[in-house]
């Protein structure tokens, strides 16, 4: 795979570290501890800050790699036989819609909402269609004929058959 041979982005750590430093500076200078904060409150605040900076850095690295094609998205919607897959496209749309909705609701109420059964059914239908479609494509006689018979592993081909070592006589 050509994409696996790509070199990592040089100096990627510079924007990531700069971003992390900026966030830490903002938290350090502007985050005020309540006057009657208990040790539990302080720990919550500290853990929240660390998780916030960590997720921001990881997210930034993933976004940069996606934008510069280090994470290859070219086959995100492609079927094995070529062409775009409608079931994958539908799964992508529903995933984005549900995740965006969930984020909006959590940002509005600061609590995780109950997920209705209808939404789970919707995602279930979409995911099962994707899985069944993949199964149909994989077992399609034309697709299987194009792929050819499965080849044995290289090690098994290269190594000649070894005779079985003599077994010790069982103790009576």
């Amino acid at each position: 795979m050509a994409n696996n041979e790509q070199q990592p982005i040089p100096y990627l750590w510079i924007p990531v570290v700069a971003f992390a430093a900026l966030m830490i500076a903002v938290l350090f200078f502007f985050l005020r501890m309540p006057a009657k904060a208990t040790a539990n409150d302080q720990l919550t605040l500290l853990a929240g800050s660390v998780i916030l900076v960590l997720i921001a850095c990881i997210g930034l690295v993933v976004l940069i790699n996606m934008a510069t094609n280090r994470i290859d998205l070219a086959n995100l919607l492609s079927e094995p036989g070529g062409g775009a897959s409608l079931s994958r496209f539908q799964f992508l749309i529903f995933t984005f819609v549900v995740s965006l909705s969930l984020f909006l609701i959590i940002a509005h109420d600061y609590k995780f909402p109950d997920v209705p059964g209808g939404v789970l059914t919707l995602l279930g239908i979409s995911a099962s269609t994707y899985a069944v479609g993949k199964g149909i494509t994989a077992t399609d006689p034309v697709h299987m004929a194009k792929k050819g018979p499965p080849t044995p592993p290289a090690a098994a081909q290269a190594a000649p058959a070894q005779p079985a070592p003599p077994q010790p006589a069982p103790h009576v």
């Binding site: 938290l27 800050s49 609701i105 149909i136 006689p141």
Partner: protein, 136 residues
């Protein structure tokens, strides 16, 4: 705590919008291909890919045969239905962001039926049509 909450909100916004924007941009500029999204494979009919038929890579293995793809109304109706359901759901969340709205049973039934038609067409093209062609 207010600042932390606000920062978490901004970070979540940036991540969700960033992922969405990158995928949308790559779809728009063709990096993520949507070619043949509305076209289904027609079994039993093949066409020779032009790039490989003229020699070159075909070599000793002969020209590579590609699938003949035809426009599929089933895929079009599924695409329209998917976009309509997604837009309706997002609108319902924006109007009332207190809870995740439930999806009406009729919509789920219609989507299930639509998916069934799509899968039936796919299975027909993969299994039934080649069998029918061989019998003829």
């Amino acid at each position: 705590m207010g600042l932390l909450t606000r920062l978490a909100f901004l970070e979540g916004c940036a991540l969700v919008i960033g992922f969405f924007a990158i995928v949308a941009f790559k779809i728009a500029n063709g990096t993520i291909s949507l070619a043949d999204l509305l076209y289904a494979k027609e079994a039993g009919r093949t066409k020779v890919r032009q790039s490989e038929a003229g020699g070159g890579r075909a070599g000793a293995e002969g020209p590579v045969q590609g699938d003949k793809r035809v426009f599929s109304p089933g895929r079009l109706q599924l695409l329209i239905f998917t976009v309509a359901v997604a837009a309706h759901y997002l609108h319902a969340v924006v109007v009332n962001p207190n809870q995740l709205p439930d999806v009406p049973q009729g919509v789920i039934n219609a989507l299930g039926g639509s998916q069934a038609v799509y899968l039936a067409g796919k299975a027909l093209a993969a299994y039934i049509q080649p069998l029918h062609k061989n019998l003829r």
